[in-house]
Assembly symmetry: D2
Homo-oligomer: 364 residues x 4
C-alpha cells in the first residue's frame, strides 16, 4: 500500500554523448518515437542533461564555450506519451520540484564568442567567457564572480508537446519566408537541417524524414511553447500546453538554476543538468473551450522574496551610445540599460566580462 | 513643539484651467521660475492635476477623449527649489504617500482615437474609448468594466529635475535628428513648440524663450528621468535623480492610481489628480561618486500581494496576425500577446474595447 | 452622475472633551441610540478619536500617561445603523483605508505606571513612559526612540456590533463570576460602572440604564469581537461580525498606526486619532449558515514586506528570571523573551524604558 | 578542481532499529562521543530518521500511534565536531536544503492517545489517530484528509549544541524542582532516566553516566535551543546557537515537512525522515559579544506565499466551553479557537478527528 519512491520516467547518462542516448532528441517532429509513457495523476521524475549536452566543463577556461558545437545542443528528454491525451486537449504540467543531480552540484553561465553563437551584447563583449556556479542547496555562488550569492528559482527552459504535421509545415513556411526576405547581416532563423540530428530511437528513413522536416529547438513558437525561458516556472507552477498529436509527445529540457528577466548573453541563465518532478493532468477538449492560441503559465508559491531595498531599478531609454535617438526602440533601450548597470557594478570591483549573471542577486 | 499638519508646498485648483495656474508648467527648461521652495528633510505635500488638465469628465461619453487637446497636457507641478541642491548632486526623492483628492475620488483610463493621439493598438482599436474608475480607499472599480476591482499602486508618472542649458540643447539636437531622418509614417518626436506653452509665472521674453527652447514632456530622457511611468514608484519608494541646475528645479505630475507593465493604449494608466507626500534629501556630488548616467529607483515595501494562482502569464512570439514571422521583434510579440489576452478575457464576457485596463487585476 | 467625495458618516472634534461629543460612547449596550445610518454598498468615512480621548499630548513628559484617567477611555464612534441588518446576519466590514488626520500627523505609545493601568512588564518597568511618533505618509519615526523608522499597518483596535440584552446579561454573569472567585492580587475584570459613562445622545433613565448594565470596552468578547487589536486588519481586510440587534449597531475606535504581535505595555500600539474608510455588506442569516460563534478575519493585500534577513526571531522558554522552571507557561516564556530582546537591543544603545515599540521595525 | 557531490557527513539506515545505529543518540550530554567532524564553510548533508525512529508505518491503522514506545523517540543525528568551535563561540547554522529520502516520500501526523502521550486537546480527542501524507515535490496531500494539499516549509524540529556539565546540572536542578513541587495531575517533566538511552558509540561506564545524567530531548531549553519546532527554519534560514563544549557537539533531528504555528496534537507537524544540507560558520567569542542568552533565528527567503484571501483568522477568547471566563488564559483561548476552527471546517465535511493538520493549508 505504501508508495515507493517517485518513479523516474526517464534517466540520462551524464557521462555518455547526448546523441548516443536513445531517449533524447534535438528536433520538434510528430514522428519522433515515444521515449516513455506517463499516466495523468502520477508524479514522475524526468532527468535532463544541460543544454550543451555536457560540452561545458567545470574548469577555469572558456575555450569550451568558444569551441562549443552549436549544432549539437538543446537535447530534450522525451517525447513522453501522456496516456489519454488527444489533439485538442490541454496538457496541464505541474512542476513539483527541480533539483540538480547530487553528483553534479554545479552549473555554468557563458558569454558566447561573437563568431560562435554571439549574443545580445556581442558587439561590446565579443570574447567567450564562462562562470561556474556551485550549488549549495537553494543557493549558488561562483569562484568567477566573487561576493555574489543568491537563491535559485530552478526551472526548465524548454517544455512543449510535439507539433502536428500541419503545424510543423506552417513553422517551416514561416521561417523560410523570414530567411528569404532577410535583410539583416545575421542569421535570423535556422531551418530544418539533417546534420547532427538526433531523433531518439528513430533510424533509417524515419530518422531521415525527421532530419529533413524537424523544427529546430532554439526559438519558442506560439502553437506549442517550446523554448520559453520563463524564470518563474519553478516549483509549484502550472503550465497549460496545447496537445496536437495523439499521446501529446511532451518533451522537456534546458534546465536552469536561475535565469534573468532577459538574455544579455546567448546563455542568459545558470545552465544545469538535473531532475524535474512532474505531475500531469488533462483538460479534454481544452483548446476549443479556452480558445487557446498558445500556452498559459501560472507561477508557483515559493519564489524567493528579497524585500524592499534589495532591488535596484534602472530605466531604459532608446538613445544609443553615440547619442543617437531611436524611435521607441526596446532593443536599444535594453542594451543601454545593461551598460548603465555594468557601470554601476564596476564601482564594486566587477568588470563587464563577468556580467553574464542573472538580474536579481544579493550579496553574501 | 508639536508638529502641525504636513505643509502643502503647492496647491492646485481643480476648477480652473491649467494654463491659468501659475505653479504649473508644461515644458522642461532651466529658466522656468521656481514655484516654491522645499528644505531637505521636510515632509511636504504637493498637489497635482491629472495629465489632461481636467479635460476628461466623469461621464459615459468618450467624446472628451476624442476631442482632447493634446497640446495642453502634462502640466507639471513645480519647479521646486530644493534648498542647497547644486549641479552634480543627486536628489533623493522619497514618496511617503500618494492619495486622490477627497473631492475627486475617481480617475479614468482611455483609448485615444487613431486620429488624436492613437496608441499601441490603434490599428485594431481606432475609436476613442473611456472608462471611469471610482476609488474606494485602496481599491478601484469601474461601471464601464464590470466585475473588476483591485488595489491600486498609486504613483506619479513624471518626476525630474530641470535640464541644464547644455542638456536641453543636446535633447533638441537628438530629437531634431530623429525627426529629420524619420522614415516612418508617424510622428516620432515633438520638437519645441511655442504654441500653448505654459511656463509658470514666466511672461514676455522669458516665456517666449522657454516656448522656443523648452523640451516637451511626453518622452522620458536619460539625463533626468521625466516621464518614466514605473508602476512601482509608490509609497515608500526612493528615486535618485541627477541635479543639473542650482536648486534642482524638481517637477512632478501625471499621477496614476495604477499602471500596467506596458502601455497598450496611449493612456496605459488610471489617470488621476491627487496629492503626493514627499521627503527629499541630497547626496552632495553624487553624480560623480555614483558615476550616474540616469535615475535609479528602489520600490517601496507595500506593493499589493496577490499570491499564487492569481496571475496568469501569456508568452509573446514575434509572429504577426497574418502568420508572418519577424526577427526578435518585441513590438510584434507584445501586440500579439495583448490579442491573446483579449481572446481569453472575451470568454468572460469582455469585449476588446474595454481593455485599456491595467495588466494585473482581480475579480470581485 | 459623478460621485462627490466619500461621505463622512461621523465627524469628531479633536479639541472637545470626548464625553461632550454626542456620537461617541464608552460602553457596549443594545440601547445606545444610533449615531448615524449607513447603507450596505456605500463607502463611508468614520472619524475616531484616540483611545484616551486626547488625554496624551505631543510633548516630552510622561506625566499625562501617569495621570491618565482610565475611566474615560475607549470612546467609540457609533453605533451605526446598518440598513437592513437583523439579528442572525453577518456584517461584512471591508476596510478600504485608514489615515491619520492631516492636522494630527502623530501618535503615541506609552508604558503605563504600575499604579495606573500597569501592563505585562510592570514589575520590571513600573514607571510611566511615553514615545511620540511622527507620521510621514506610510512611515513613522520618533524623537524618543532614535534610529527607528518603519511603515505602519494602520488599523482599528476595536470593532463590533452591539450585544443583544441576552448576550449582555451573559457577559455580566461571566465576568461577575470571574471577579467573585478571583484569587489573584489584581483586577481581573471591570464590571458595569455608571461613573463616567458616555452613551451618545442617551440621557436620563436610558443613560442610567446603560450605565448600570453596559459592558466595558477593554476586553474582547467572543460573541461580538470588540477589542481585538489584530495588527493586520488594515487596508483591504475583511471582518465578518455577527449581528445581534436590529440595525447591527456597529461601533469602531481605538485606531493604531502600528501594533505589535503582543502587548508588552498596557498600550502595545502606536495610538492615534484618524479616519477609517469602510464599505459594509450583509450575509443574511449568516450566523446560522456559517455556524458562527465569533468573528472571522481576512487580512488585506498591502501588508508591508520586509524580506529575508530583516526579522530576528527569539524563542520563548518558561524558565523565569530566577532560574525557576514553570510548566508550559506562555506568560513566563513571553516575558523572558521580551527581556532577551531588550538585552539584544541595549547593545545598540537603547534602554529598556524605550521598548514600548512594536515588534517589527527596521532601521533608518 | 570540480566539486563532487556534497559530502554526506552522516548516513542513517531506515530499516534498522534506531538504537542500533551508532551515530544517533537520544539524550543531551557533553560526553556523548562525536559521530563525525564538519569543517566550517563546508556544505554537508546530514541524514535523519523521523522522531519516532520508524515506529509509525504508512498504513491506515492508528495502532502504531496508540502503542508507540515513547521512551524510544527523538533520536538525533550527531553530535558533530565543528572544527575550531570552542565554548563561548556562536555556531551559525545555515540550512541550505531539507528533503525527504527519495525512497520514503511520505510522512505522518498523529493524534496521540490520552493514555500514551496525549496532547493539547486530549480531553476532547482521547483516541489515537493518524494521517499519512504523500510528498510530491514541494507539495503534500493525504488520503486520510481529502481535498487538502499545500506546499511544505520543510525544517528540522530539533537543533542544538551539547550542554556543558554545568548547564546540564542546572537543567536537572530546574526540572527536578518542577517535578517536586508539581500540583498538576500530569507529568510536567521527564528527568534523566537510564532506560532505553542511546548514546551513540558510548558503552559501559560512559553510557551509564550519560544515562544517569543526560537531559531528555522533548523540551527546548534556553541555554542551547534544542526542540524549538519553529516552522520557518527552512531553506535559507540561519540559526545562531551558543557553543558550550569544545567542538560544539551539534546535533539535529525531528524533521518536519510542515508544522503549524502551535501544536494541538502531541505531534503538531508532518513528521518525516530526510536529509538536511547545512553550512556552518563560527562567530568566535560571540556569546559575550552578543550577550547571547539563547538562540536567535532568521527565516529564509522562500517561504510559500499564499496571498490575500487565502488565510482565515479566528480570534481567541479565554472563555471555556462551559461559559466560564478565565483571566487572560492563553491556553483556554487557544483551545477554544481550535474548536471554532473545527466547527468551521466541519461545514466542509471534515470531522474533528482529522484536525491534526497544520494551520495553514489550501484546497486543491
Amino acid at each position: 500500500m505504501a508508495p515507493g519512491p517517485i518513479r523516474t520516467a526517464l534517466k540520462v547518462d551524464l557521462d555518455k554523448p547526448a546523441h548516443e542516448q536513445e531517449y533524447l532528441h534535438n528536433r520538434w517532429h510528430p514522428d519522433i518515437p515515444f521515449a516513455a509513457k506517463i499516466v495523468p495523476g502520477e508524479a514522475v521524475k524526468v532527468e535532463c542533461i544541460d543544454w550543451t549536452g555536457g560540452q561545458i566543463k567545470n574548469d577555469d577556461s572558456a575555450d569550451d564555450v568558444k569551441n562549443c558545437d552549436l549544432s549539437r545542443v538543446h537535447y530534450l528528454s522525451g517525447p513522453f506519451e501522456i496516456e489519454g491525451a488527444e489533439p485538442g486537449d490541454i496538457l496541464v504540467v505541474e512542476i513539483q520540484d527541480v533539483q540538480p543531480f547530487d553528483e553534479r552540484p554545479w552549473g555554468f553561465t557563458a558569454v558566447f564568442d561573437k563568431k560562435n553563437g554571439g549574443g545580445f551584447l556581442d558587439e561590446h563583449y565579443p570574447q567567450a567567457a564562462k562562470a561556474i556556479w556551485d550549488f549549495e542547496g537553494i543557493f549558488c555562488s561562483s569562484r568567477h564572480i566573487p561576493h555574489v550569492r543568491f537563491p535559485g528559482l530552478i526551472h526548465p527552459g524548454i517544455m512543449g508537446c510535439a507539433p502536428s504535421p500541419e503545424i510543423l509545415a506552417e513553422w517551416t513556411r514561416r521561417e523560410s519566408e523570414l530567411v528569404e526576405f532577410n535583410t539583416l547581416d545575421r542569421v535570423v532563423a535556422n531551418l530544418p537541417e539533417p546534420k547532427n540530428i538526433h531523433a531518439g530511437t528513430a533510424t533509417g528513413d524515419l530518422k531521415a524524414k525527421i532530419g529533413a522536416e524537424g523544427a529546430r529547438t532554439i526559438p519558442g513558437r506560439p502553437e506549442h511553447g517550446g523554448n520559453c525561458d520563463i524564470k518563474n516556472l519553478s516549483r509549484g507552477s502550472k503550465t497549460y500546453l496545447p496537445v496536437h498529436v495523439p499521446g501529446a509527445k511532451f518533451s522537456v529540457g534546458d534546465l536552469h538554476f536561475s535565469q534573468g528577466d532577459g538574455e544579455i548573453s546567448f546563455c542568459g541563465a545558470i545552465e544545469m543538468a538535473g531532475i524535474i518532478t512532474f505531475k500531469f493532468s488533462l483538460m479534454k477538449g481544452g483548446i476549443e473551450n479556452l480558445d487557446m492560441k498558445s500556452p498559459i503559465f501560472i507561477p508557483g508559491p515559493v519564489e524567493p522574496q528579497f524585500g524592499p531595498g534589495r532591488m535596484l531599478t534602472f530605466e531604459g531609454f532608446s538613445v544609443d551610445e553615440n547619442g543617437k535617438q531611436h524611435y521607441m526602440d526596446v532593443t536599444v533601450a535594453y542594451r543601454q540599460t545593461c551598460f548603465r548597470v555594468f557601470e554601476y557594478l564596476k564601482r564594486y570591483g566587477y568588470s563587464g566580462g563577468e556580467f553574464s549573471l542573472p538580474a536579481s542577486f544579493y550579496k553574501k
